[in-house]
């Protein structure tokens, strides 16, 4: 279950087009954090169905001593996912099982995120940042580019095995969406083969990757 702690209900309704009730099966938005700081861990412990906490950065807690960081720490300790949102934020910050993002982005993408949560029974917070599957695929590609291209540029015969292996691992790690399955298999097979044959042509590898990327760019 997703617990949304938002005290600006008007904004929520406006940005969600009054659709909050469509999410009733997976999202609970009426709970209020109205306890003292010392009871905060118990408060979250008692939410036995908790998967994700989505908290407004300037949430008005009944106890002034509570901060959004306190909530974050408790949620993380419980191994649950944490989302912090605020109207004043510009860029989304994607961390490990947590995300900080703009309120407008959150409400724009909430529907897309919830659909994935319902269908896959898995909460992929990144879906809150991107409002379409295509954008999410692009995000993975950019991450892959950042990870492998600097290595390929530094390529020489001495580091060839290492760079090819790293590239294969990166392709494997960064392209996680099912849409990539086929291309990913072809690419990793190709790299494996080249490692096996000790045939290291980084220019061709670079072109192969670029070719795959261009397939998903600007679709």
């Amino acid at each position: 279950m997703i617990y949304l702690f938002e005290d600006r209900k008007d904004r929520m309704h406006i940005l969600l087009n009054e659709k909050i009730n469509d999410f009733n099966d997976v999202l609970f938005s009426n709970k209020i954090i109205d306890i003292n700081k010392e009871n905060l861990p118990n408060f979250f412990n008692s939410l036995t169905d908790l998967d994700i906490v989505i908290l407004h950065k300037s949430y008005t807690f009944k106890d002034d001593n509570i901060t959004s960081d306190n909530v974050r720490d408790i949620v993380k300790k419980l191994n649950k996912k944490f989302v912090l949102f605020s109207g004043g934020l510009d860029n989304a910050i994607i961390g490990d099982n947590e995300i900080v993002l703009n309120s407008g982005t959150l409400y724009k993408n909430l529907n897309f995120f919830i659909q994935n949560y319902r269908n896959n029974k898995e909460a992929n917070l990144v879906y809150l940042v991107f409002n379409s599957q295509n954008e999410y695929l692009k995000h993975q590609i950019k991450k892959l580019q950042n990870a492998i291209f600097p290595n390929l540029i530094k390529f020489n015969q001495e580091n060839a095995v290492k760079i090819f292996k790293q590239t294969r691992n990166n392709v494997d790690n960064y392209l996680v969406s099912s849409e990539f399955l086929e291309d990913k298999r072809k690419l990793t097979d190709y790299i494996e083969k080249k490692i096996e044959m000790k045939d290291f042509n980084h220019t061709i590898l670079f072109e192969q990757i670029q070719k795959m990327i261009s397939k998903y760019e600007n679709n």
Binding site: R11, T60, D90, K138, E217
Partner: protein, 579 residues
């Protein structure tokens, strides 16, 4: 010429062979987000900037935002020999497609280079000057986004107004650092530069006490108003609002405002009032629910309507004006939001208007506050006075309503020179109370025999033209105005006991035990009524003359002042019984 390379640690190897200084961006994404630019920039600088240094979310294109900040700073500081070279792994076409601010590439001295296997950067020997006008035109087309939250947007407008107005006046005020460093704010500073318009003549000239009520007071406004006055001026400025965020409810905020306004240490003449004082006001669409409006209502309806209130708001929405107009306010200042800066003359006009409004309000405030207090004390006197007991219940209400109308007329009279005649109308309105008072049964009774205090005969008709009276009219002599004295006057054919002067003089002498009717300047009051107030085309009643009349009313309406004479008597009358 200098080269600065702004890049993440993981990718710095890509440009290691290019001579220049590295600025290595922090690895943590939240730190890249807060990284802005080196404090000092120099002319003749080449920048090489990685577009996506955030590995967790490369689509943020933080590098482009850093580049924009630098571009803005160079234009603001007029260091126009610089070049920004963006580098990234995507093709130029992909960059245009993916980055929301990619039109930045159209600006002069900005280029993009894709990093590929042949990646090599050639730094030219010289840099062309950036044409500011062209650059600003193109920057406007990038469509830098303002913040999405209403409150943050409001804060930006607020900071923008402080920044803009302070710059214009050449005064220094502190700005909210977080907002000042935002991309949107820097964009505004760049495209709406005002350095050429600087003016130092717009300072307040009025005296008295000025109170600012604004939740953003500590974010520069308090400083701004304090610096807006000349140091030599006896104008005291105070402000409240910075702790409003810690108060739970709107009622707490309203109570704090009321305490401050009623505070005997600092009695404000004019209040500059922001309408949105509580967090919830930023989401409020109904103007009647705004905390500032409740404070306005409290001031005008409960504290003192003479206190001048200038509404100070970031909104120029018409609905605000309509809702507030029903309560009444004395001025309106719109904080200069970025949209308004499109008009290059707006700042000058807005500041002149702000100064004029404050000076105008301060000038009229003392009189209106004083007169409102005086009229209120008149109401208190009437409530306690036995003299009104003999009259119908509505009489008191009728008098109160008369005072309210008088105040409204005086408010109008102080609005502009064109409305000066309203001083006369106000005087006539107030004088009606004298005339009404003289109609009270136990005050004066007119007939062939006239009585004061029900049984003290002061005049008797002898024939069609002649009267005998217990008081005698003394014509004006040199500096002494005409008046009545306690002395019998037989068979006077010029006497008219129906006149207000005769009635009032009789009341003063026999009811309040005075030796003549000069008491409390009655002859002057009478003359102002007849010679000035009734003829606005010839003369205008002065504020002091209004106060003199109020003072007179305060005396005669107070039953404690009633001292019917024991020694002095009216006309002897064998047939004493009233008929």
């Amino acid at each position: 010429m200098k080269t600065i390379k702004i890049i993440s640690n993981d990718r710095k190897g890509l440009i290691e062979n290019i001579s220049g200084d590295f600025v290595i961006l922090p690895a943590a994404p939240e730190k890249i987000n807060t990284y802005i630019y080196p404090n000092d920039i120099a002319d003749r600088t080449n920048y090489i900037i990685e577009i996506s240094p955030d590995d967790n979310n490369p689509l943020n294109f933080n590098g482009v935002k850093i580049a924009l900040h630098l571009y803005f700073k160079h234009l603001q500081e007029k260091k126009l020999f610089f070049f920004i070279r963006l580098i990234g792994f995507e093709s130029k076409a992909d960059f245009f497609y993916d980055c929301e601010y990619s039109s930045f590439l159209k600006c002069p001295n900005v280029a993009y280079q894709q990093i590929n296997l042949d990646f090599k950067i050639n730094i030219p020997d010289d840099i062309n000057l950036v044409d500011t006008e062209i650059a600003i035109d193109l920057l406007k087309k990038i469509n830098i986004k303002p913040p999405t939250s209403h409150k943050t947007h409001h804060s930006i407008s607020n900071e923008w107004a402080i920044y803009r107005w302070s710059q214009y006046l050449g005064i220094k005020t502190s700005l909210d650092t977080e907002i000042e460093k935002s991309l949107y704010f820097q964009y505004l500073k760049t495209v709406y530069q005002i350095s050429d318009l600087k003016e130092t003549q717009t300072f307040l000239v009025s005296e008295g006490n000025l109170l600012l009520i604004d939740d953003e007071e500590a974010k520069g406004w308090s400083d701004f108003f304090k610096k807006l006055k000349l140091p030599s001026l006896d104008l005291k400025i105070d402000s409240i609002g910075k702790d409003f965020k810690s108060l739970d409810s709107k009622d707490d905020i309203i109570a704090e405002c009321e305490n401050k306004i009623r505070d005997s240490e600092f009695k404000p003449h004019t209040i500059i009032l922001d309408l949105r004082l509580h967090d919830s006001d930023f989401e409020e669409d109904d103007p009647t629910k705004l905390t500032g409006l409740k404070v306005l209502e409290k001031i005008k309806k409960e504290i003192n309507p003479g206190i001048q209130v200038i509404l100070f708001t970031a909104s120029n929405k018409v609905w605000n004006y309509q809702a507030l107009n029903t309560i009444g306010f004395d001025g309106w200042i719109t904080k200069e939001s970025p949209e308004l800066s499109v008009d290059p003359t707006f700042t000058r006009k807005a500041l002149k208007d702000l100064k004029d409004q404050i000076d105008f309000c301060q000038k009229r405030a003392s009189f209106l506050i004083n007169i409102s207090n005086e009229l209120n004390s008149l109401k208190d006197i009437i409530n306690k006075s036995n003299l009104f007991e003999s009259e119908k219940g509505e009489t008191r209400k009728k008098f109160f309503s008369n005072f309210d109308v008088t105040f409204d007329l005086l408010e109008k009279a102080t609005q502009s020179k064109d409305f000066k005649k309203y001083f006369n109308y106000a005087y006539l309105q107030l004088f009606l109370c004298v005339e009404e008072f003289l109609k009270f049964k136990n005050i004066f009774k007119y007939g062939d025999k006239c009585y004061v205090n029900q049984n003290l005969k002061v005049a008797e008709k002898i024939d069609e033209k002649k009267w005998t009276s217990a008081i005698k009219y003394i014509e004006k002599k040199q500096n002494t105005p005409s008046h009545f004295i306690y002395q019998n006057d037989d068979q006077n054919n010029r006497l008219n006991p129906q006149q207000t002067d005769f009635k009032m003089s009789s009341v003063l002498i026999f009811f309040f035990n005075q030796v003549n009717s000069k008491f409390l300047n009655w002859p002057n009051i009478r003359d102002v009524r007849n010679r000035k107030a009734a003829h606005p085309e010839k003369a205008i009643v002065k504020k002091d003359e209004v106060l003199l009349l109020v003072n007179f009313l305060k005396y005669i309406f107070n039953s404690d002042n009633m001292k019917p004479s024991e020694q002095e008597e009216g006309l002897k009358d064998e047939e004493f019984q009233d008929s």
